[in-house]
Symmetry: C2
């Protein structure tokens, strides 16, 4: 099932790959216990530390979980949406920060994805989600809010919008896009006037969802995208002239 040819080095990576493939192929079922480290070491004809390094690799991807004690060991993990979110967000954040993704490109992607959710959200949003949206809007309208708090509320607003689609796969996909934008958004200093404009557009979105009007939601999102893009360009320009 999982032999290990004597390819070029890095045994722990090969072993991790073998086990990972077995999990993906369904040869190891969820909650099934893997052989103990000692047994794996014998199977692969390597030492225990090498096996351990392989298991740690898998643990980092939430593919397995380990449990100490008698009848403990490594178990195939049921990948939860929560864990997947976390990985998705860190990966997306790093991807954006390390590849010099421009504000424009990130913004375009984010709003394109959100617009994909809007019709579904208009159809399915719950009253509770609508209330959350309203509450966040109210928070954003408060004067004296720090930029970070404003951004955090913005993230909550948009995540709620996405969750409104009632499709966990969509929510998972978009969690990364929305949250990974936050560092970029945090670079923007929100003036009183820009906050007011954003709150107005957020209100328009919430109104559209309340009326279950997909078209209006799409329009408002487009306007918000354009406005956010303008804010980002101003920041970039100010930074360019200052330098």
């Amino acid at each position: 099932m999982k032999i290990d040819p004597d390819k070029k080095s890095d045994l722990s990576a090969q072993i991790a790959k073998a086990i990972r493939d077995a999990i993906i192929a369904g040869q190891l079922m969820v909650d099934e216990r893997l052989p103990s480290e000692a047994e794996l070491a014998e199977q692969f004809a390597v030492s225990r530390p090498t096996v351990r390094e392989a298991l740690k690799r898998l643990a980092a991807q939430s593919l397995i979980r380990t449990q100490r004690g008698a009848f403990g060991g490594a178990f195939v993990n049921r990948l939860s949406y929560g864990e997947a979110y976390g990985q998705q967000i860190t990966t997306a954040t790093l991807l954006l920060s390390m590849n010099a993704v421009s504000f424009d490109v990130a913004c375009e992607a984010r709003y394109a994805l959100e617009r994909a959710c809007a019709p579904l959200s208009a159809k399915r949003r719950t009253c509770e989600q609508l209330a959350t949206l309203r509450a966040e809007i109210q928070r954003q309208a408060q004067p004296g809010l720090s930029d970070e708090t404003f951004c955090a509320s913005d993230v909550t607003f948009h995540r709620t919008l996405v969750d409104g689609a009632g499709n966990p796969v969509l929510s998972y996909q978009l969690a990364g896009a929305v949250e990974a934008m936050q560092p970029l958004m945090n670079m923007i200093t929100f003036t009183a006037r820009s906050r007011e404009a954003i709150v107005t557009l957020h209100t328009r979105i919430a109104d559209a969802l309340e009326m279950r009007d997909a078209g209006a939601a799409d329009t408002a999102l487009s306007q918000l995208e354009e406005y956010t893009l303008g804010l980002g360009r101003d920041v970039m320009q100010a930074r360019a002239t200052r330098a």
Copy 2:
């Protein structure tokens, strides 16, 4: 910078987290070399194997790469789109397969995301991408194609459609959604008639992109979604009656 409180156990996880946080916070720049394993072991007051396990965790997430030899060591990795794709796909695949995500939900998410790309694709698709779409359509029309080959071509078609938007962030986000669906799609047996219908709709999409007609592309995608959904339901129903 990265001390390590004596929280409850699993030192390697704590160390990995400390380094990961340092990378995300930008305290460690891309291509910067981390201290050697021995130095890290001394800093954190743990043994070298423990440090190694932590580093393997980070390597599994492509956060670092290691290089052997003199002046080798662990370096902060520039997360490339390719690596991110890979992780995204395996995570999404597992999420779908282990959480019993229904065909309907996955399908809805996938086509919602693709429709988000369609307008951008209509605007920006290159001639080369259009040619790829046409070539895949031609391949799909060939008789005697295995279901797996047909599915693979389908994936290529849709990934090209997504890439046509010319936004790498979008491509990254959607790679998971499209590829992770493949195992579910592979459960479908494509009859000659259903293949013909799919090819017709694919052609309609390609035509729309050629004319740069976003509306037509959206319509064709909606029809394809509905048709795919129907196919999936038939399979489920057949499976239910057989059981």
